[in-house]
């Protein structure tokens, strides 16, 4: 498609500049896309591994929880933790991947989670608490990775659209328009030349007629 632009020399110059810019932009975006895809695949692999690890961890945590519950009793556990001793805080930071803000977290458990009475409890409960604490870290890392991969996927899609627009629409259009304007200009040149020749012929024939 030819862009809606007047076929003048000014526009031709401007278009040529745009053409150079578009090609440069296309190259840059393409590079960005490649890097993003590579990062995405890396993160996906990592996520998969971590997911499996987390699943196993969760299983083992619930197992030890079940044992603790069996030994101590569900109601007793509930009363032990009716007032939680620990406070879990998450610190939020962002890190940048290719101009993309990815979340990064740090977990912070403040207070003492083991502040329950000893006589009703058991070492099994203590172990359970410890495991849950570790599990939180793994889950945090997993959440971080999954969110990052979703963000990356979105960014890849966006970049891909831009690359495609440049490659298949804008650059061909500019090329076509440049061609159109060049043709138009040389056509004008030619018609001007013939007109001048015609005028010259008319003038000389007039002069010749007078003489």
């Amino acid at each position: 498609m030819i862009l809606a632009i007047n076929p003048t020399r000014m526009e031709l110059l401007r278009l040529k500049k745009r053409h150079v810019l578009a090609i440069r932009g296309h190259k840059l975006l393409k590079d960005k896309q490649d890097v993003l895809v590579r990062k995405f695949l890396e993160i996906i692999e990592e996520t998969k591994k971590l997911r499996i690890q987390a699943d196993n961890e969760i299983q083992s945590v619930f197992q030890s929880y079940s044992i603790a519950e069996g030994v101590v009793g569900g109601a007793a556990i509930e009363s032990l933790f009716a007032v939680p001793g620990a406070q879990t805080e998450v610190k939020f930071k962002t890190k940048t991947i290719m101009n993309l803000k990815a979340p990064e977290f740090e977990v912070e458990i403040t207070g003492n989670p083991y502040n329950y009475g000893d006589e009703k409890s058991s070492i099994l409960v203590d172990m359970c608490v410890k495991k849950f604490g570790n599990l939180l870290n793994t889950l945090l890392k997993l959440a971080e990775l999954e969110t990052t991969s979703i963000l990356l996927a979105e960014e890849i899609e966006k970049t891909r659209r831009r690359v495609n627009v440049l490659e298949y629409i804008l650059i061909p259009n500019i090329n076509e328009t440049i061609k159109y304007i060049t043709m138009k200009l040389s056509e004008m040149e030619r018609s001007n030349l013939t007109r001048l020749k015609k005028v010259k012929a008319m003038i000389t024939s007039k002069k010749g007629g007078k003489k």
């Binding site: 001793g85 998450v90 979340p103 989670p113 604490g133 939180l136 891909r160």
Partner: protein
């Protein structure tokens, strides 16, 4: 920022041991209200939700997961083990955003 756990009694109690607040959920309606409650509270940065509960309100969770950055949502299996046929993150990204890699 804080964690928030939505799940069955065991999960909530278990994470309660390390100071994570949560809400016990048994049916669709409770799940919906708990989820919305968690979203409204700006102090909550990460929502941990068990898979079974997430299944109940799947459309809400998925819509949220792909439109909002915050809070993060993480699904975990409950004590009965992982639900079979769970979508991996790659398939999720594929279906949600429509990219093929």
């Amino acid at each position: 920022m804080k964690y928030f756990i939505i799940g069955d009694e065991d999960a909530v109690l278990g994470f309660g041991m390390v100071g994570v607040q949560g809400r016990t959920v048994k049916n669709f309606k409770e799940a919906e209200t708990a989820f919305n409650h968690a979203l409204e509270n700006e102090d909550i940065g990460i929502i941990i939700i068990t898979e079974k509960i997430a299944q109940l309100i799947r459309p809400t969770v998925d819509r949220f997961l792909f439109t909002e950055r915050f809070p993060l949502i993480i699904e975990i299996p409950d004590r009965t083990g992982p639900v079979s046929g769970r979508m991996g993150i790659r398939e999720m990204a594929n279906t949600a955003i429509g990219i093929k890699l």
